[in-house]
């Protein structure tokens, strides 16, 4: 379509003004990401200068008001929580997608899809509230006080599973009809077709969905903040209270000043870069799939 405009008559003056205005809008939109990097880095710089990256990694503990800036326990907690959440949510999410497309009776498909979309759009603070009031007391019966790594993992996996389902569904729907008929001509059962033809063909899209879900899991703040107990320590088991990077920012921004505040911006910057790598990889995987 753009090609067509390119071949049409040259722009008239009012049109080029119009295009100029639109172009300014487009430049604004595409520069937001740069602005975010600029400002978050700018605010983080003092700490990089005064404290140095090394101490963020090698300080023993996180007592930012006493010049102790060890981020490692929180990094590890973030990592463990997201990985475990993905390990739970990935298979469940893909299975739920396979169910709707190939096993669900037709009357169930629409309400089922709406339920999944509803869960996908559920505000994190509402899931956190449910986790705090319902899930945490249940976990406390096994081992008090209940606010723990495992509570965070469960809430976050519930939060990202619909993302995996939605992405997997569109990947599975994108597999060519001819693959199905080819498999049927070979006499493959539905299960064999799924295992051997359809799932392998859709694996790029499914992987992209799982990466996006991982990005969401790492970036999730409120729900995790509400159920994990927020004690800065290395996680030693599912029932230990942990604090992740995102919650740390949300908890301490209120009173942080100087190097402490800059340190929070550094953790924000680290999060952004991590998520950026994950979503770029996801986009690349999905793009590769589209080009095939």
């Amino acid at each position: 379509m753009t090609l067509f405009w390119g071949n049409s008559l040259f722009l008239r003056t009012p049109d080029s003004r119009f295009a100029f205005g639109l172009g300014i809008g487009a430049v604004c939109v595409s520069s937001i990401l740069l602005l975010i990097f600029l400002f978050v880095t700018g605010e983080a710089l003092p700490a990089l200068k005064n404290v140095g990256l090394r101490r963020f990694l090698f300080d023993d503990a996180w007592y930012p008001t006493d010049e102790s800036f060890g981020l490692v326990p929180m990094l590890v907690s973030s990592f463990v929580l997201s990985v475990c959440a993905i390990l739970l949510a990935g298979p469940v999410g893909v299975a739920a997608a396979v169910y709707r497309l190939y096993y669900a009776p037709s009357w169930i498909r629409k309400p089922y899809r709406w339920l999944v979309l509803l869960l996908a759009g559920m505000p994190s603070v509402v899931l956190g509230l449910w986790g705090l009031v319902v899930l945490v007391p249940l976990i406390a019966r096994i081992e008090p006080p209940g606010t723990s790594l495992i509570a965070g993992i469960l809430v976050v996996s519930l939060m990202v599973a619909p993302t995996v389902t939605i992405m997997s569904e569109s990947a599975l729907e994108g597999v060519a009809r001819s693959s199905w008929s080819g498999a049927a001509a070979l006499g493959l059962s539905r299960e064999s077709t799924l295992w051997n033809v359809v799932l392998p063909a859709a694996r790029g899209g499914i992987a992209a969905g799982i990466l996006l879900a991982a990005a969401r899991a790492i970036g999730e703040t409120m729900a995790v903040l509400m159920v994990t107990g927020n004690i800065v320590q290395m996680p030693d088991g599912p029932f230990s209270a942990v604090r992740v990077l995102t919650s740390n920012i949300a908890l301490e921004m209120a009173y942080a000043t100087g190097d402490h505040r800059a340190a929070l911006f550094i953790s924000g910057l680290a999060l952004t870069i991590l998520v950026l790598l994950l979503s770029l990889t996801a986009a690349r995987i999905a793009g590769l799939k589209n080009n095939v």
């Binding site: 172009g23 809008g25 595409s30 937001i32 739920a96 999944v116 979309l117 009031v133 389902t165």
Partner: protein
């Protein structure tokens, strides 16, 4: 179908198990996902409904939100979301129109913009909060205000808005553009009279989705629009969003659970209405596309 291709090979036995496993896994995954979704929704409805009456919507909160209603919070939420939509709509539309109608596909600018939007869509909301408080709050001097929160949310929903508008415009058949050119319409008139009306429902669906996303957001608002639960008198006042209210009641106010649940129910009901509207519009679009 039982003597399928894979089960007639030497490795038939494990494959038969694997094939039997698939429907079980699919049903299980769907059951787990739907079960949890139902659990969360029923819990919110069950505990939220008793606190919900007319006075809850029109009263001021008393004793830190334990009693009273959420009138000022609803007003603040409305103002924040309207600010976000009002700021994001012109920018998003301009960017989308520019990308689709004025840029050759594959040009460097178009590629960079869409890449930056993909990344922007994945940036964690707490990082938007950091950026918002540094850029809008400090650098532009807006402090804790509804304006600063709304503009932060605008940055957050822009990717969604641009993407849906782009899709809507790309769905308009090229013949319409040729027809407009043949009638001697300038491109500005073509956009205004032909393309935007044709893409109108996609734009509306995108706006509604953005509205939902903005209303659900918490982490980006805590340090931009702030905590103050009084009735705002202007956009430069700090105002507490509904989701922030839920968070505060659940975490910082002992005995605030009942009102937290009632507020969560209000939030979810609003989101359901918005999402159902958005989905009906996009379903309608899909049917229209199939019929043409």
């Amino acid at each position: 179908m039982s003597d399928s291709f894979s089960s007639s090979t030497e490795r038939g036995r494990p494959h038969r198990i694997r094939d039997a496993l698939l429907p079980v896994a699919a049903h299980l995954g769907a059951l787990v996902l739907c079960g949890f979704a139902f659990w969360v929704i029923m819990d919110i409805v069950w505990r939220g409904a008793p606190g919900l009456d007319w006075s809850f919507f029109i009263d001021e909160p008393t004793s830190a939100g334990r009693g009273g209603g959420i009138a000022p919070i609803l007003v603040s939420t409305g103002l924040i979301v309207i600010t976000a939509i009002a700021a994001a709509t012109p920018l998003g539309l301009a960017a989308a129109i520019f990308l689709v109608e004025f840029m050759p596909t594959g040009s460097r600018f178009a590629v960079w913009t869409s890449l930056s939007l993909d990344v922007l869509a994945g940036v964690p909301s707490i990082v938007f909060g950091l950026f918002g408080s540094a850029f809008f709050g400090l650098w532009l001097g807006m402090g804790f205000s509804i304006l600063s929160g709304g503009l932060t949310l605008a940055c957050m929903i822009l990717p969604l808005l641009v993407r849906t508008t782009e899709q809507g415009l790309r769905m308009v058949p090229d013949d319409w553009r040729r027809g407009a050119a043949a009638l001697g319409l300038s491109r500005f008139s073509a956009v205004r009279l032909v393309l935007l009306p044709a893409a109108g429902s996609a734009v509306t669906a995108g706006l509604l989705l953005g509205l939902g996303r903005a209303t659900a957001e918490t982490a980006a608002l805590i340090y931009t629009s702030g905590y103050v639960d009084r009735m705002p008198s202007s956009l430069f006042d700090s105002g507490r969003a509904l989701s922030v209210h839920i968070y505060d009641l659940a975490m910082n106010v002992a005995g605030g659970d009942e009102n937290a649940y009632a507020s969560a129910l209000v939030l979810i009901l609003f989101l359901i209405v918005v999402n159902v509207a958005a989905m009906s519009i996009s379903d309608f679009l899909l049917r229209k596309k199939v019929s043409t």
